[in-house]
């Protein structure tokens, strides 16, 4: 019963929304009813799917690049404290500049193709992944590292056997945050200037006051973000089996 409460609440809000739009005769260009949004979603499904595929590709590529960069930078920051002291403030500064300001600059430098959108996603996703990974490694109990040292482990083995696996839960937490940012990042990049993607679609239908399609597009963005989050949860299940198996096999 408790698990179904959010679903019940959402259904109730949707019903209220539908009732208000119908009873108050709110025009489509002001607020579409949920049924109109669903109709737009079904009617424009092929176009939305085309644009969603492009946004998803940008989001996945941006996430992949962010992850690779975060892994390298995270290890370097952990291994060389001086490097961390130099780089960390720069990372923080990059997060203080609004992406809506940076995205046009990327387009000026990189054109209208995929590259500036991927870079926008990377800029949004990199920070939470890198910081959570570096913090995870810094928090590894020194006794584990000492034990490996007394066993004759090399510096590389300290990372591959202890530090990196131990920080995996932190890394996955960072990835979950980044996954929800990734689709938004792609849409922001497309919104500024593009010829395809959900941001481009959103801008086009907004300018035409087709608010049912705007809401349908927002719904697709939400679903994609949730799917990205679900993908990370799936990764978590595969990569940290101990957290799931422990409860099933208690001795």
């Amino acid at each position: 019963m408790k698990k179904s409460l959010p679903a019940v609440l959402i259904c109730a809000l949707l019903l209220l929304w539908e009732a208000c739009v119908r009873m108050l005769h709110i025009p489509l260009y002001v607020l579409p009813a949920p049924t109109q949004v669903i109709a737009a979603l079904i009617g424009d499904a092929p176009t939305l799917a085309h644009h969603a595929f492009i946004s998803l590709a940008e989001a996945l590529l941006g996430m992949g690049i962010s992850l690779a960069l975060a892994l390298v930078l995270g290890v370097l920051m952990d291994a060389f404290p001086t490097f961390k002291r130099c780089v960390y403030p720069i990372l923080v500064i990059t997060q203080t500049v609004p992406m809506i300001v940076l995205a046009p600059i990327f387009i000026i430098y990189m054109g209208f193709g995929l590259a500036p959108k991927i870079l926008t996603v990377t800029m949004m996703c990199f920070f939470p992944i890198a910081v959570s990974f570096a913090d995870g490694m810094a928090e590894v109990d020194a006794d584990y590292v000492n034990l490996l040292r007394t066993y004759g482990a090399s510096r590389l083995q300290l990372y591959t056997l202890a530090k990196m696996p131990a920080s995996l839960p932190s890394l996955l937490s960072g990835l979950k945050v980044a996954a929800t940012y990734s689709v938004s990042g792609a849409v922001v990049g497309e919104w500024i200037a593009s010829q395809a993607g959900l941001g481009y679609y959103l801008l086009r239908v907004k300018n035409a006051y087709m608010l049912d399609k705007v809401f349908a597009c927002v719904l697709v963005i939400i679903l994609l973000s949730l799917a990205m989050n679900g993908l990370i949860r799936l990764m978590q299940r595969v990569l940290t089996p101990q957290t799931h198996m422990t409860n099933e096999k208690n001795v």
């Binding site: 109990d141 006794d143 584990y144 000492n146 034990l147 490996l148 040292r149 007394t150 066993y151 004759g152 482990a153 083995q157 056997l161 202890a162 696996p165 131990a166 995996l168 940290t240 089996p241 101990q242 198996m245 422990t246 096999k249 208690n250 001795v251």
Partner: protein
């Protein structure tokens, strides 16, 4: 006979705080020696110096008569906490030493038959969080015993266990001692544990710490009843630790 392990004039300071000064002792081959002392007295520091985690300020350490420094490969170290990797199965955990030294498959073959001996039969594919405290300690001990090093350094290995589990583990270690046939150096603050398990007890005292007295325990057949009868010895050791002996 040449001692298996010999420590001569060892000194160590944490910054300006001198912890050990002119520490000397030796351990004969296959001997089980305990270092007893008050908490914070420098017992674990001795094991950290031997295992190479710390570097001594002065003194010499020798194994089989040959001096060594840093991480030497002579020692298999078992800390107070089991330090099992939560993301690895028990089998993967106990084969850690083999994995580090590129002999992972051989380590697995060697480890599998020993699970029953260590009371861990059927636990190979479980994760550490599934095991009780005593089982985790036995897994950690199996990992330590699978190191090719011939001297075991045991740093209060049962300190984190409750009284009952601790007693069970002491019984188990006593039974395993002969079968392992390794030289062992145990650090503990539990007087009964030291009496029950050791051939020799070294009392660490003073500040900076050094060996203040040595007790030899010759009894070959030890039981709990025998241990309960060691009141006089227990009292003498206790007074020695308190600096009254």
């Amino acid at each position: 006979m040449i001692p298996k392990l010999e420590v001569q004039g060892l000194s160590f300071s944490y910054g300006s705080r001198e912890v050990l000064r002119d520490l000397s002792f030796s351990v004969m081959p296959q001997e089980f020696v305990s270092i007893l002392g008050a908490s914070g007295g420098g017992k674990s520091t001795i094991l950290n110096l031997l295992s190479g985690s710390l570097t001594p300020d002065a003194g010499e350490m020798r194994v089989d008569g040959a001096p060594f420094t840093g991480v030497s490969g002579h020692f298999a170290y078992m800390p107070q906490s089991d330090l099992l990797f939560s993301w690895q199965t028990i089998l993967e955990n106990v084969c850690l030493y083999g994995r580090i030294h590129g002999r992972y498959r051989e380590a697995i073959e060697e480890a599998k038959p020993r699970f029953a001996e260590f009371g861990l039969a059927g636990c190979e594919s479980l994760y550490p969080a599934s095991l009780s405290g005593g089982m985790r300690q036995r897994a950690a001990f199996l990992r330590t015993s699978l190191c090719s090093a011939d001297i075991l350094l045991l740093d209060e290995p049962f300190g984190a266990l409750d009284v009952i589990s601790r007693g069970d583990m002491q019984e188990w270690l006593l039974s395993m001692r002969k079968r392992l046939s390794r030289t062992a150096l145990l650090v503990t603050h539990d007087v009964d544990e030291a009496i029950y398990l050791s051939n020799r007890i070294l009392i660490l005292g003073g500040s900076p710490a050094h060996i203040v007295r040595e007790f030899t325990i010759a009894e070959p057949n030890r039981t709990r009843e025998w241990l309960f009868d060691q009141g006089a010895l227990r009292g003498e050791i206790y007074r020695c630790i308190k600096g009254e002996g």
